[in-house]
Symmetry: none
Subunit: 413 residues, 2 copies
């Protein structure tokens, strides 16, 4: 089963935005047993869109289209599809009411332009947009399926997950695919790959390993396709059992969950509270923790101390410690973690201090030097890391590393 | 002058990597007056690559290809091009010597596989790779130009900047393209579009407006192509002068810069300092501020107060205020902003308190209710906002809105 993705929008062709939608869709489609034959990006131009549709339908049975559904003049996908399928627009009152609700709830006038978003081609099934106003559309024409979705990533993602993928699985006979995720932290892709080389070389037929690196973490995905489900589930389990001891110290999950979700779950289970004291991460650790719904149950707060004065006066790190060792030091980060735990009256705390870059490094403490401390009911300890030169990457790597250190302690306690 | 980009590689089609090369190339090509008609991603499959080449050459005069030039089995671009142009491979000794140098300098054996990287089709001009081992290739066939480059981003970028773009400018007569960015905040796409409808309808020939929405902000891009550069630059200026008064209260920049960069620049110019007190944003405002290199020059720190106790005990909001009005209230957010300014001894402060969701709302204060306060040397004020149901979006919208409120005050002061 093969499909093609067509992304529509001048902004992609002039390089103003990177097309991240296609990669996300391709991943989800592959998980569902549908492979992507081609990804085509075209401009907001009627003839060009029609040509792309014509070419795609000679190659595949399923065409997924994103973009060009906004309310403004440069968005012409809907009109183009109407012409392509030789049909007309009709108002869909379900969509109309849903959009009106959004506008009413925000006390905004429901303008003509917005009302037009409720008009859809007669021959489509509407896909409701739970995250925005432009509806998605499902067409079955020329013996093929065409699906049109908004280009706004979170709107498209919600449609794909809640409606499109389940419906595609019903509509097409998709092969059986088994996936197992292994999330690792603290080891680079090439080192990991060397470490598990003989295990990987011995993978049985039908099994495939993918490396999906993110900043600071790496997701391994082991996939299996085939006929005998029971046999493959057994094989999968055996393979994971063999892999685990080789890299056990780096594995933090076998589920698709984030580090902050895991830490949150462990804190909740224990009824324990957390705080942070952040310097180089500038609030990013707290942001990740609080990005989890319900985090107020275990997160008390954070002090972001970007200057010596604040570290001393508000957090309570001793002036002598700061002057003797400097802000980026084991002594200071230990003091920060302990002060946070005391001030916020929490069971656990995280502290980080480092040189995020791109400048500010010295010979002794080059850019990318980071100290992380964890304080628990039993002990406080710190570790030094040497990351790279990129500010954003250093902030993310520090945060994920700190959360993982805390996770390990939570499991021990 | 139009071109097409073809990116080759299975990793793109299974969603393992996001194709960032195309966006970068498209931006560079546009700056050089070459517009990108289409971007096509295909798999490492001979027939599929040939079909893509055939289709592309019916549309455009220039085809840029990336990927599939590595030394491993799945890299088949070079062999495919050879077959496509009905030619054979020949060893290029300049390339051979360059690759050998790289291996010698790293004390690595120069294997057979690597030596083959020096073989190129007879009919190509070689583009030397200053960053890696796979050479680029320039073909002139069927009255078209075909350029093949490695998929490794920094290798491709070096080839494009140092060789391909300059040579394309010589080879083709390229028109110039003019772009002007207008960044707006605080108004939705459809409202803005209605507001500027008559201005947009009156755009002269050759001018085009694009709406590029992000969460909480909107980028407008006005583009012009044509022959008479001086005339169009004048027209562009006049158009912007006409647009500005229609939406002046929403415009925050005419450059490609972030809100936090602007706020940072203004604070630096004034020699003033900033702090934040955050509840619902959980450190995300501070994170945005500190994502700017050099922000330690004007950012002192932040208190993230996720509980009543912390708001009272560390930040110093009065217990009575919290109990009487609740944490999400004008009174509390004003007190938070003033306390932050005092405690961190800064000239300005931002405070935010709200219900980020997805749960925790009441009839009076539904999910998405957010209070933002700004404290300046002259006054402290607060505004109430009603955002949506999505936690992540609410956090981002609150942060960008708060930074924009501060920006306006900084411009006044």
């Amino acid at each position: 089963m093969q499909c093609e993705i067509i992304t529509i929008g001048d902004e992609i062709l002039i390089g103003q935005v990177v097309d991240t939608n296609s990669a996300w869709m391709a991943k989800e489609l592959n998980l569902a047993g549908i492979s992507v034959k081609q990804i085509t990006s075209v401009s907001d131009d009627k003839q060009h869109i029609m040509n792309a549709l014509n070419e795609a339908r000679t190659r595949v049975d399923l065409i997924l289209i994103t973009g060009g559904l906004g309310p403004t003049k440069d968005d012409i996908t809907k009109a183009t599809l109407c012409e392509y399928f030789n049909t007309t627009l009709v108002r869909n009152w379900d969509v109309f009411r849903e959009i009106k609700k959004v506008f009413d709830s925000r006390d905004l006038p429901y303008t003509d332009i917005n009302q037009k978003q409720a008009d859809v081609p007669v021959n489509c099934k509407v896909i409701m947009n739970t995250k925005g106003t432009a509806p998605g559309m499902w067409f079955e024409e020329f013996g093929k399926v065409f699906i049109s979705m908004p280009g706004v990533p979170h709107e498209m993602m919600a449609m794909m997950s809640n409606f499109v993928i389940p419906k595609l699985k019903e509509h097409f006979e998709t092969p059986y695919i088994l996936h197992q995720t292994i999330l690792v932290q603290g080891i680079g892709e090439s080192f990991l790959s060397e470490r598990i080389a003989s295990w990987e070389d011995a993978l049985p037929k039908g099994f495939k390993l993918a490396y999906l690196p993110a900043i600071g973490t790496l997701r391994l995905r082991l996939s299996a396709t085939g006929e005998d489900k029971t046999k493959q589930e057994k094989q999968m389990k055996d393979l994971i059992d063999k892999l685990t001891p080789i890299i056990s110290q780096y594995i933090y999950s076998y589920e698709d969950e984030t580090m902050e979700q895991i830490v949150g779950r462990l804190l909740k289970e224990k009824g324990m509270k957390l705080s942070t004291a952040e310097s180089c991460t500038g609030g990013y650790i707290a942001h990740r923790i609080t990005s989890v719904p319900g985090s107020s149950a275990y997160f008390e707060g954070s002090l972001i101390t970007y200057s010596y004065e604040i570290k001393e006066n508000i957090l309570g790190v001793k002036k002598e410690t700061l002057e003797q060792y400097g802000a980026v030091s084991e002594q200071v980060v230990l003091a920060m973690a302990e002060a946070a735990r005391e001030q916020f009256k929490t069971d656990y705390s995280i502290a980080a201090s480092g040189i995020a870059g791109p400048s500010g490094g010295t010979n002794e403490k080059p850019v990318g030097t980071v100290w992380i401390a964890i304080s628990t009911p039993h002990k406080t300890f710190a570790k030094r890391y040497q990351f790279g030169n990129d500010r954003e990457r250093n902030i993310i790597r520090t945060s994920i590393t700190a959360l993982n250190l805390l996770r390990v302690e939570l499991l021990k306690d």
